[in-house]
Symmetry: C2
Subunit: 136 residues, 2 copies
């Protein structure tokens, strides 16, 4: 596996494990965390970690199932689905445990020298997510 993809795996592991100390080493003050489908952007370690802590609150299981991964240079593209099991409060289902598998694409662009993340871009299938929520 190319070293860029190895780095991407390490990062995604830290992300899905809520391993904030490791994540902090990946982020700089310039890192851009961008959801192109939700049209939201967080910039810099502090903003990003703050967002992740809110988003992951109470989450019981968070996993990425990779279907295909490739890279050109320091840009890594991951196609897969995000499995999320946790409290439904954030999804309009208070008091329930919800279980989602959301298809998505994540691109990660790393700085070759520092190995820090320059940009994460997510494309998430929110329609499938809301269809799954509907039936829970």
């Amino acid at each position: 596996m190319p070293k860029e993809q190895q780095l991407a795996m390490k990062y995604m592991e830290a992300l899905t494990d809520h391993d904030y100390p490791t994540l902090r080493r990946f982020y700089s003050r310039e890192t851009i965390f961008f959801d192109k489908t939700a049209n939201t952007t967080y910039t810099g370690s502090r903003q990003i970690i703050g967002f992740l802590q809110r988003a992951h609150e109470g989450v019981l299981e968070y996993r990425l199932n990779i279907e295909h991964m490739f890279n050109t240079g320091s840009l890594v593209v991951i196609i897969g689905s995000y499995r999320l099991r946790g409290p439904g409060d954030q999804f309009g289902k208070p008091g329930k445990i919800i279980d989602l598998a959301v298809p998505g694409v994540t691109t990660l662009k790393f700085d070759n020298n520092t190995e820090r993340l320059i940009e994460q871009m997510d494309l998430m299938d929110y329609q499938t997510m809301s269809d799954q929520l509907e039936s829970q």
Copy 2:
């Protein structure tokens, strides 16, 4: 199928059919055609059509096999693979007919009112492409 995805299908059909009159109706002077993996950008109908004409020269077959498609509003995400059969001259294989199936992700952002394309972004697995070329 949501109307945004129907529009995306029409556009992708025009693209893979080399139907330039239809493509011209999708592009404006502001349309951005962006390959994030190759780090190339073409802006405006003229530049984009010019690029496509060069890229498609002599191509015998060009098809998109869609594996998954979703949209949030006017942003459509297509995950699939591009099948390309044509002369190898552009790929360092002069005199040969090459046959490629390149995994890729394409996002299309449309203007809701005019139905014109604001941005196309491609993510292509060039490593798989070059592996396939190697053996031809």
